[in-house]
């Protein structure tokens, strides 16, 4: 009986594949492996299979995507790239420039209208879309434990001096003011928020454009001064602590504030914490109205002899941009949909604020790529080297700003 069943099933499967006229095996290289992420990927997989394609999952965990990118490079060099790859940042343009990617012209005619122009720009090369965005993350978030905030009678700080005043109160009340993870990654995320508090134009010029004079300017020295002062509100056990453990400290009320992008919200949600009631999410000091984004997308590689996107690649791209997928995937991922016309009515309050801020910043041109999105791996690494060295030494702010200018220049 069992054997018969298996036979039947395989016959059915065969029939099913035969009926799908353009069944295609789509290998997808990605690094979404945590809980919410794999749920989002699961949605995509189901949709792709509904169109009759075969989903071949190549998840490479670890290193914040660095491991997956290493796999990608070896596969491209050996002439066997996966058809679909998760990617963000200037790598999209780099690979497009190398001629390794197919453009998404057949399916992206309406994307210009559906996406904020600032986000569309990072997905394009020479006016053509090369990446399909799954969702948008906002990085300039800060999370405050509500009980801790109420205990010291504080309000959400709008500037760094206000933040330090609040932190002093928390310190006096026996709460670790700022939960931080002592990794180059978290150091970088913390640092970019301070740069952004000096204004979107300053941030654009310094970090995104790597302007030497701006990088070594007195304003940047001030940034490092604020960074140094902030460090005095960390606890001693930060070394090597992953950001999710830092988030746990705020969730448990041991620490007051966390500076991290909205993927950290997943930790709060998993602990059944409700925004507004248990914790407050707010734009970081000095960045109200600004929206610093990370747009995770899929790019599509050419197989040998291929010139345009295959049916399977086109289907995958159009599924990613479909309103249904955008809504569901962003919900699971803890982000917001990249499309501006998708409702976030069933999302939590933080995500609603995020979506509203994205619309607002889109119009005021305060919608800027986060450091992780807007700089090359080389520049990002160089900035992190300088920042993390500063934070782990007694270097003075002036020489750190000079070192930053030098490092960015040599990485460029």
């Amino acid at each position: 009986m069992k054997r018969l069943n298996t036979g039947l099933v395989s016959a059915l499967t065969l029939a099913l594949f035969a009926s799908a006229a353009c069944a295609e095996e789509l290998e997808v290289l990605h690094y979404w492996t945590s809980g919410g992420e794999s749920k989002a990927v699961g949605v995509l997989k189901t949709d792709v299979e509904k169109r009759g394609h075969v989903w071949k999952d190549s998840a490479v965990a670890g290193g914040g995507g660095a491991n997956a990118m290493t796999v990608l490079k070896t596969r491209v060099i050996s002439g066997n790239p996966p058809p679909a790859v998760q990617m963000r940042g200037p790598s999209v343009q780099d690979w497009a420039e190398q001629g390794a990617l197919v453009d998404l012209d057949p399916v992206s005619k309406s994307w210009d209208k559906e996406l904020p122009p600032q986000i569309a720009k990072v997905l394009q090369y020479k006016g053509k879309f090369y990446s399909a965005p799954h969702w948008v993350h906002r990085v300039n978030w800060m999370y405050i434990n509500k009980a801790a905030l109420d205990k010291v009678g504080g309000t959400v700080p709008k500037t760094y001096p206000e933040l330090f005043a609040l932190a002093d109160k928390m310190k006096a009340a026996g709460i670790i003011p700022i939960a931080h993870g002592g990794t180059p990654y978290h150091d970088g995320v913390f640092f970019e928020g301070i740069v952004q508090s000096m204004g979107a134009d300053f941030y654009r010029k310094a970090i995104l454009e790597g302007d030497q004079a701006t990088l070594a300017s007195p304003k940047m020295v001030e940034v490092f001064d604020i960074l140094r002062k902030s460090q005095s509100y960390f606890d001693p056990g930060i070394q090597g602590r992953p950001w999710n453990l830092a988030a746990a400290m705020v969730i448990e009320g041991k620490a007051g504030m966390l500076f991290m992008g909205d993927w950290a919200k997943g930790e709060f949600t998993a602990a059944n914490k409700v925004p507004g009631k248990d914790y407050v999410c707010a734009a970081r000091p000095g960045t109200e109205g600004m929206f610093t984004f990370i747009a995770d997308g899929f790019v599509f590689y050419k197989a040998k002899g291929q010139t345009a996107a295959t049916k399977g690649q086109q289907d995958l791209a159009s599924i990613i941009m479909s309103p249904e997928y955008q809504q569901q995937a962003a919900y699971f991922k803890g982000a917001i949909p990249a499309r501006t016309d998708v409702s976030v009515a069933n999302f939590d309050d933080c995500a609603k604020k995020s979506a509203a801020d994205m619309q607002g910043s889109m119009k005021s041109n305060l919608l800027v790529p986060s450091m992780n999105q807007g700089t090359t791996e080389a520049t990002l690494g160089a900035i992190r080297d300088v920042v993390t060295k500063f934070m782990n030494s007694t270097q003075d702010s002036k020489s750190a700003a000079d070192a930053l200018a030098k490092a960015v220049k040599s990485a460029g």
Binding site: A66, P184, P236, G381, K389, S393
Partner: protein
């Protein structure tokens, strides 16, 4: 007779060709995978290779980038801070343990196994174990404090100036047993007759060691030095597992620099240039040592 002849011919042929035949695959493999790849890497260091290799020659620009990079110089000075104490301590402690084991003590076999054991662990495992041991809230510090020594502090892992010595501790722990085994083999290789002759002449045990045994072990010292030096330059996994280069960049080593720049940051050219620099250091250190050693053996 004829049979014997063919047999003899065959044997002569085999004598001549069999060793070459057997060695051929490994010679070919190392030609391709060691020397050819080394040459390719060296060539890449003269190209603008970034994400993927590119093969147009651009001269020394990548080396200028490398020498202008602060993190590279941090890595180089860290290597010195790591390698010198590592080699000295491993040799010193290894020699001491070997001398003690050489006293024909009981359960010598078991002790030898115990000392050799750390080498059986991969560097990743050793690094992770030491990370736990040195972690202030989990390991030694916590243990000592719970024993009542509340003032005990051991926060090297979080200290930019001391983190590199955490790697020294772990590396010495891992390699000393191996060094002990090498020295012990050397000690046992010394001819008993010489020792007895010295005893007859009335030399005391320390004098015998100092004037007779240790000088004959010169080649062993060279071998140990060679092995430890190149191990020090190659150390990578241990850093990744123990400190991940941190705090900040305070425990980066050149190997980590090479990996990060070549593979994570898409700067293959600089990565290749740093690999070539490491190779040159290895050559600069090892070639004189090997020359001295061969000269020493010839002189004996």
């Amino acid at each position: 007779m004829r049979e014997g002849n063919t047999g003899g011919l065959l044997a002569a042929w085999a004598d001549r060709w069999l060793p070459r035949l057997v060695l051929a695959p490994s010679v070919a493999a190392s030609l391709v995978f060691v020397y050819a790849f080394t040459l390719v890497t060296a060539y890449l260091s003269f190209t603008p290779s970034a994400l993927v290799p590119r093969y147009n020659f651009i001269g020394l620009a990548r080396y200028r980038d490398l020498f202008g990079n602060d993190v590279w110089w941090t890595s180089v000075s860290n290597l010195a801070q790591f390698a010198v104490p590592f080699v000295v301590l491993s040799m010193g402690v290894g020699l001491l343990l070997a001398l003690l084991l050489d006293q024909r003590i009981r359960i010598e076999g078991a002790l030898r196994a115990v000392y050799l054991f750390p080498l059986a662990l991969s560097q990743i495992v050793a690094g992770t174990a030491w990370q736990w041991l040195l972690n202030p809230s989990l390991g030694l510090e916590k243990t000592m404090q719970s024993f009542g020594w509340t003032g005990f502090r051991l926060s090297w892992l979080g200290d930019s100036d001391m983190a590199i010595y955490c790697i020294v501790v772990a590396a010495v722990w891992q390699c000393t047993g191996f060094v002990t085994a090498l020295f012990l083999a050397g000690l046992r290789g010394v001819d008993d007759e010489i020792v007895k002759a010295a005893q007859v002449d009335g030399a005391t045990l320390p004098t015998i060691y100092r004037r007779v045994i240790l000088p004959t072990m010169r080649p062993v010292f060279f071998s140990v030095l060679l092995i430890l030096t190149h191990l020090a330059i190659k150390t990578f996994d241990l850093v990744v597992a123990l400190t991940a280069g941190g705090p900040g960049t305070s425990s980066w080593l050149p190997t980590m620099f090479m990996y990060t720049f070549a593979f994570e940051r898409g700067r293959l050219g600089i990565g290749a240039a740093s690999a070539v620099m490491m190779l040159l250091v290895v050559v600069a250190v090892l070639v004189p040592l090997m020359y001295l050693e061969s000269k020493a053996t010839r002189d004996v």
